[in-house]
Structure formats: C-alpha cells, structure tokens
C-alpha cells in the first residue's frame, strides 16, 4: 500500500525540476546466465535511456541479448539469470533496491510487456475477459462491481469488434492477430508509463503485423507513453521508432535516431545489418557487405535466360485443386487413447483451381499469407502429396497422375527437388552433412560409393560449405551451414526445377542475404528454374522474374515482378505491399 502511494506521487514530484529526466535509465547493465558450460554473459555494459513519450527500437539478431535486456528491466529473468552489474532506474527509482512485492505492483501498472507468439501468451483455459479483469483487480484499478465493464472497454480500445462477445472467448477461439490485441489490452489495461514489446509481430502475417504495430503506436502516442520495441527487423524498428539501438552479442553497437541510422550507420555491424535488410530499390548483390561483394569472375557465367525462352514452359499447372476433410483441432490428449467420436467431415479447399507455368531457367515467386495454399501447391508440384483434380505437366509429362507414393523412386524424381523452410528439421539428426548430401546421389544418382564422396565435396564447394564441415552432424552446424547442406542436397542431382519453400525464413537477416545470393549464383551457373514460395514480397522481388500472389487458395494476381510491385492490379496485392514497413530513407 505504501509503495502505491509512493509511486503515485512520483510524477508530481519529478515534474518540478526534472521534467527532462528520462523515464527509464539503464546504466552499465550486465546480465549473466549460469549454464552447464559456466557463466554466459548475455548482456554486457549496456546503457539505455528512454525519455517520456519516446519510442525506442532495440534491434539485433538471435543471441544479441535484446530480449534478456528487457527481461532484466522488468525483473522477470528466469532463475538461471541474474543482473551482475549496473543500475536500472525507472522514474528515478532504482529498481534493484525495490522489494519484490513492490516490483510486482509496478509490473502491469507502471511498465508492462507484450510478447512474441500471442496465442501462447494467454492462459488457454481462461476467458480473455477474465484475464484482463485479473490484471485490473490486481492493481486495484476498479472495484469488482464495475470490473467487467472496464474489461470490455479495454477490449474496445484495442479495436476488437464485438468486445462484449469476445469477453467470453477463449484464446483458441481467436485468430493470432486478435490474440495479440488481447495481449495489448492486458498490457495497457492499467495505463502503464512504459510498454515493452518483444518481437510482437513475429509469426504474424504482414497485414496483421501492420495492423498490430499501427495500433501499438497509436495507443502509446495517444497516452503519452514510452515504448521499447524489440525486433530482429531493422526496417520495422526504423519505421515505427523515434530512436533505434542496435545490439550485437550482448553489446550495444549503435544508438541513433531512426532517420539517421539508415543514412549514416556508424558501426560496421549496423551497416552490415542494414545492407542485408531487403528493401525497395536494392539489388540482391547490394545485400552483401561491401568487402564481400561478388567476385567478378564468378558472376560472369550464364546470365538470365528467362526472357528469351519464356515460351518454352518447364512446368505447367492447370486448374489444380486440393481438398482436405475439415477436422477439429486435435487436443492435447493422445489420439489413440481418446475415446472421442469421429468428427463429421466436410471438405475444405486449400487450393482452389489455380493455373500457372514456369519456363526453363525462370524463377517464379509464389507469395501469400499463411493459409493461402502456397505450401500445399508446392507440395503437390513436388509430388509429395496427391492433388484432388487438375493437371501438373512437367517437361511434357503428366506427373500429376503418378501417385506421390510411387513417384519417389521414378527417374523424374531427380528433376524436381526442394529446399525446405527449416534447415534443422530438414536434416536427419543421425546423418552427417556428407551423408545427407550423398543420400540422393546414392538412391537416384547411380553413383558408386567412391564417386559419391568426391561429388559431395564438389557440391560443398559449390554451396560454400567448408569441407571439414562435411563430417559433422546437424547439431554441430550453424543455421546458415545447415541451409547450405540443404541446398547442396537439393542440387546434387542437377534438377531442372527447385522449389524453395521459404528457405530463409528461419535464418537471421545477414545469413539470409548470403543464402539468397548463393541461390542466385547457383541458378545462374546451373540454369535451373526456381519456384520460390514466400510470405515476403521484398525477398521475392530480389530473386524472381515473375510473381504469383495467392489468397485463400486462389491466384489473385500474377505477372513480372517489377510490374506487380510497382503497379499492382489486385487490391490484395496492394494491401500486402502497403503492409511492408517503410523505414525512413
């Protein structure tokens, strides 16, 4: 109770002479984690200041310590972590000296946080309205008689339609974007002074991302709040924040106004990160750091052949349809042991009569948000799943008619290969890199054991994987190295068509830049066609001659990349383009 009155009086007291005092002031912060390999310093000597009403972006790749910093501020580090050094002052109050009970009081009321993966951030078995009430009642914002009205009001403020009904909803009944709105409502219910958003839009579609970010910015501005946006996306941070801090391996390497960070990055790492961020007006080569610009002798090989041979179609897809029986979401109960009745099935069209073609040496982007049917389409073309109806013609053969089950051992299998989304998941944990690359060579390549090794080494060199990594297992390789193994395996049989299923989605942006360039080089030197499946128009633009936009199982637009990006015809394409964050340039 004491603490509450203390804090209530804080703004009044501070407003007199120290109006310029920052809301949050972190000095020389070092956070350590006790791991089995000894102490790991996740954050080292970090200084952060956030002024009242300011929005700060903290940008970094995975492992940079950006999330840990925010957990330290909230004092919600897990038991292995501790603040080893430094001070954190909030409204002039030294948070390290505040007792836990008082700190708990401040969380949610003075500073609050929103998280990545909003659905998991909500209690799955409690009505969302009740979860907001819990916070309101905890911080004595309202008496219990009026609390449900306040909760509904809070839902309304985050633009949730029909808040009175949503009050009774459980998280599983809401979409991801809607869940994130509820999490924002939770965080803002008690009108805190500081909001920390930790990757709030990762995993959400671009259009949802835009809606969520716009909402956060609007609400914080409206209430004069300060905010910290933690993200891996430099473009997103620059577009929405007043100031951007860049972190690398636990250190802050750059701290500048977002207007200047793109123009005059001072630190080499920022420059690298900035260059690697796909954005309009930048070529694929431009993503690479200056010193790693492509060696002139390598890029001079075969140039794009697409325009000359466009009429000569390699793959033709006509009226392709895939239907699935509609099923309930499986629960956590083990399926064999559940005694549930079979659910009445009703079909659902994941892919709804689409037609397109890919020419020899052409690369085509297939773009859409989650659930639009792009992955299902690629799996059907890949002959991993069977179509419901339609035609898939590859090099003149009707491969759509061959059941997926028997396609695996046919010679045509060699001609269509794939690079998977998650490099970790796509490598057998018990196979070394060499064994993974050798698998297609042994099964379909007709090579003997002796020849396989030399071919593996040749492929490793082609994809830029140092030869000593060939005998390592996947868990001993980094994400980028695993991606290279996946690519080497896909091109091992010299396929005509390679499907790239979000090949860089799981990678950090600097690694993504390298991998995208590698893919372009390989295409140029080997003359393959690509079908590049992605949710990110900016990435697709870099690599593709043509782009196909899908929405709810249908193609809404297709055409040359430049045309679609600059003069989109479908309104959905325009929405997608508008949703991409535009950093000040």
């Amino acid at each position: 109770m004491d603490s509450r009155t203390d804090l209530m009086s804080l703004p009044a007291e501070t407003s007199e002479g120290t109006a310029s005092r920052p809301l949050l002031e972190v000095q020389d912060l070092t956070v350590e984690f006790a791991t089995r390999r000894g102490i790991v310093r996740a954050v080292q000597n970090v200084n952060i200041t956030v002024a009242k009403g300011e929005t700060l972006g903290i940008v970094g790749e995975s492992g940079s310590g950006k999330s840990v910093t925010s957990y330290a501020v909230m004092r919600i580090l897990d038991r292995a972590g501790r603040i080893a050094q430094g001070s954190i002052a909030f409204s002039g109050l030294d948070l390290q000296t505040v007792p836990e009970s008082e700190m708990r009081d401040m969380r949610g009321r003075e500073m609050s946080m929103i998280f990545q993966n909003p659905r998991a951030a909500l209690n799955p078995i409690r009505k969302v309205g009740r979860q907001i009430e819990d916070v309101l009642l905890q911080h004595a914002q309202v008496d219990s008689g009026a609390v449900s009205e306040r909760a509904i009001e809070t839902l309304e403020q985050v633009r949730i339609a029909r808040p009175r009904e949503r009050y009774h909803a459980y998280p599983f009944e809401l979409s991801g974007g809607m869940c994130q709105r509820v999490v924002i409502a939770l965080a803002l219910a008690c009108r805190p002074q500081l909001l920390i958003a930790d990757e709030p839009t990762t995993g959400l579609d671009v259009t949802t991302q835009k809606a969520v970010m716009d909402l956060v910015v609007e609400l914080t501005r409206e209430r004069g709040m300060s905010a910290i946006l933690i993200t891996h996306d430099l473009g997103l941070a620059a577009a929405y924040c007043d100031r951007v801090m860049v972190m690398e391996k636990g250190h802050v390497v750059e701290d500048a106004a977002s207007g200047t960070i793109f123009k005059n990055p001072s630190h080499a790492y920022t420059r690298k990160l900035m260059r690697a961020t796909p954005r309009p007006g930048v070529s694929l080569r431009g993503l690479l750091p200056e010193q790693e610009q492509p060696r002139a002798d390598q890029t001079k090989t075969v140039r794009r052949t697409s325009s000359s041979t466009a009429s000569d179609a390699l793959l033709v897809v006509e009226q392709l349809v895939k239907e699935y029986p509609r099923k309930d979401i499986p629960t956590s109960l083990g399926k064999i042991f559940s005694r549930k009745p079979p659910v009445e099935t009703e079909t659902f069209r994941a892919v709804d009569g689409i037609s397109f073609s890919i020419a020899h040496g052409e690369s085509v982007g297939l773009v859409g948000e989650s659930g639009c049917g792009k992955s299902t389409t690629s799996m059907m073309v890949m002959r991993l799943i069977d179509k419901t109806s339609g035609l898939i013609t590859f090099a003149g053969d009707d491969i759509g008619e061959i059941p997926a089950r028997s396609f695996a051992t046919l010679p045509s299998r060699k001609k269509i290969q794939m690079v998977f989304q998650d490099p970790t998941d796509s490598l057998n944990p018990r196979f070394t890199a060499a064994r993974a690359i050798a698998d297609p060579l042994l099964r379909l390549g007709g090579l003997g054991r002796g020849e396989v090794r030399s071919r593996c080494e040749e492929l490793a060199m082609q994809v830029g994987l140092p030869l000593e990594f060939l005998d390592r297992f996947p868990h001993q390789l980094s994400g980028g190295q695993k991606a290279r193994v996946g690519i080497a395996r896909a091109i091992a049989l010299k396929p005509d068509l390679v499907i790239l299923d979000e090949p860089t989605a799981a990678l950090d942006v600097s690694v993504q830049a390298v991998v995208l360039n590698l893919l372009q080089d390989l295409k140029d030197s080997l003359g393959m066609s690509y079908l590049f499946v992605s949710h990110d128009l900016n990435v697709v633009r870099l690599l593709c001659d043509r782009v196909i936009v899908m929405q709810t199982g249908k193609i809404v637009e297709q055409g040359p990349t430049e045309r679609v990006m600059e003069a989109p015809e479908a309104s959905y394409t325009r929405d997608l383009l508008a949703a991409i964050p535009h950093p000040p340039l």
């Binding site: 009081d105 946080m113 951030a121 078995i125 965080a187 009745p341």
Partner: protein
C-alpha cells in the same frame, strides 16, 4: 453438458463390446479346455463331456457368444464351482469393500501428492523438490504387496498400533447395517462411532498401502506438468502484468497443470485396481480381488471371468468420469467435443 455426456456414452460402446469379446475369448478360444476347468480336478472324461454339453461348449462359437451376451444382459455371470453361489451376487456383495479401500487409498495419495508436486515445482531445487524426486522414484519401485507387509510388521507386530490384518472388522465389532456398503459411511450414518473406529483402524493400513503406491505417479506428473506450465509463455505474461504469486500459481499455472494430471489419473486407476488385488490378499480383505484370487487357485473360472469383466466395466466408467472432468477443466475439449 448433457449432450456431451451423451456423445461420450456412445463412444464407450465399442470399448465395452471389446471388453465383452475379450472376456469371452479368455475362456473359450485360448488353449486349455474350459470344460476341464469347470469340471474340476477330479473329473472323468464322461463328466467333462457332460459339462461341455451343459455349458453349451459343443455349440459353434457365435452361438456360445450370443448365449454369453444374453446371460450378461440378465446379470448372470455364472456360478462358482467351489461355493455353488452365483458369481454376480457374490461380486455385488463384495464390491463395496473393494471400492471403499480403493477410494480411501486414492484420496490419501491425492491429498499428499498434489501439494507435494506443486511445491516441488514452485521451489525447484529445494529440499522439498528432492524429497519429491525420491518419493516419486522410490514409490514406483515399491512392490505393493511388500509395502503392505512392511506396514503390517511395523504397525501391528512391532508397535501394536493397528489390529491384525484380518479383514474389514475385528471379531468383536458388528458390521453396520447395509446402506451404502461403505462401513465408514454406514457407521457414521447410524451414529455407531465404535464401529466407525473399528472399521477405520482396519482400513487405514491397506488404504495407506494403496496410497503410497499411487503417490509416485501423481506426484511425478504434478511436478512435471507444473514445471512445464510455470515455464510457459502465459505464466510469463501473468508475471509481467504483476499478478500476485497466489493468482499466478493457483489460477493460472495449477489449473493448466491439472490437465495432464487428470489424464494420468486413468493410468493411476488402472494401477490401483490391479494393486487392489494384491493388497486384499495381504490384508485378507473380503473384496472382489481376494474372491478372484481364491477362485483362481482352485481353477474356478466363472468368478475370475466375472471379476475381470466387472473390473473392466468399472474402469471404463472411471475413464468416462475422467473424460468428463477433463471437459470441465478444459474449454477446448468442452466446446469442440
């Protein structure tokens, strides 16, 4: 709620059919001539043939099955060879003794296991956590009949605190009038506290034995699922919004952690009903388990078959109850099921 109950009941039907088929097959198809069992050890070929005819074993299998199902439908489980009494009556009269024992055992273990598991997870690495780990691993390793004997030795022979392990009541007490069949309830309902005390002192050791036996899986599961839930994103959100420990642990973590625990209860019941047989033998408890064991040793098959069927039906019913309980806790199951 009624509709979901109806749906669940429908799904139980195939399981029950499976149970009936298996119990039928246990006597009719597997090697070993059931007629020899039924005729007893002193049978002549003639008497075996007679029994085969009288049991209908000379008929084709589907007909035998139809007869078996028909008998079941009329509540007829056959007659015991050794006592000559109908199995169904015997099982009905002995069932409350077994049920009282099993339920008290389960309650005892829940009362200890749930708080222990929660505390161990909340105070991970503390002495209570280590106690919990020892209890969990040692508990599953204890043969239930061995625990029972140890308890008898310590509390009856050494300390003399508990009466001799000779059933539900000692020779001097009289059974309370039959109301629920549970001596503890019946004696209380009729205000007979002397009998209550006598029944309780007989019951406590076997119930404790069962309790210790089921303690381990429940504690283990409670701790594991509490740990998982405490590390989950939504608990982090709850903490980051400043909810107090009580709300975080009880309202947020505990209710979610109960879901896997409730699922485990199915397994625990399976263990308990099996362990019940052994405990009844150790404590000369006049329940259906000891009835089946006696019959088993005399190759008297009808009681064994009746016993297996009764246990299976009970177990299916308990699982149904667990499913319903799960639905009460988890809206995802309730709203979609």
């Amino acid at each position: 709620m009624l509709a979901t109950l109806g749906k669940r009941l429908v799904t139980v039907i195939p399981t029950l059919i499976g149970v009936v088929i298996v119990t039928f097959l246990l006597t009719r198809v597997l090697p070993g001539d059931p007629a020899v069992y039924f005729a007893g050890p002193a049978a002549t070929p003639q008497s075996i043939a007679d029994i085969r005819k009288s049991l209908g074993l000379d008929r084709p299998l589907p007909e035998q099955f139809a007869r078996y199902v028909n008998d079941l439908a009329h509540g007829n489980l056959g007659n015991s060879l050794s006592t000559g009494r109908p199995v169904a009556t015997e099982i009905t009269s002995r069932l409350p003794a077994s049920a009282e024992l099993t339920l008290l055992g389960l309650i005892l273990s829940l009362v200890i296991a749930l708080p222990l598991g929660i505390l161990a997870a909340v105070k991970q690495g503390s002495w209570i956590d280590h106690t919990c780990r020892v209890v969990a691993t040692a508990g599953v390793s204890l043969p239930v009949f061995f625990t029972g004997l140890l308890l008898v030795y310590v509390f009856y022979f050494q300390l003399g605190w508990s009466p001799a392990p000779i059933g539900r009541l000692d020779a001097f007490a009289t059974a309370p009038p039959q109301i629920t069949g549970f001596y503890l309830f019946d004696s209380l309902l009729t205000g007979n506290f002397e009998t209550f005390r006598a029944a309780f002192s007989q019951l406590i050791l076997p119930a404790l034995t069962l309790g210790i036996f089921s303690l381990a899986p429940i504690t283990r599961m409670t701790r594991a699922s509490m740990l998982a839930v405490l590390a989950s994103d939504f608990v982090r959100t709850a903490r980051a919004s400043g909810l107090d420990n009580r709300t975080v642990i009880l309202t947020y973590a505990f209710r979610n952690a109960m879901l896997p625990v409730v699922t485990t209860l199915g397994m625990v019941f399976s263990f308990l009903l099996g362990a019940n047989v052994l405990v009844e033998k150790v404590f000369a408890w006049p329940g259906i388990g000891s009835y089946a064991v006696e019959a088993l040793l005399q190759s008297d098959f009808a009681p064994v078959q009746g016993f297996v069927l009764t246990m299976a039906v009970l177990y299916v019913a308990l699982n149904l109850l667990i499913d319903m309980l799960y639905g009460v806790i988890d809206p995802r199951v309730r709203l979609e099921g």
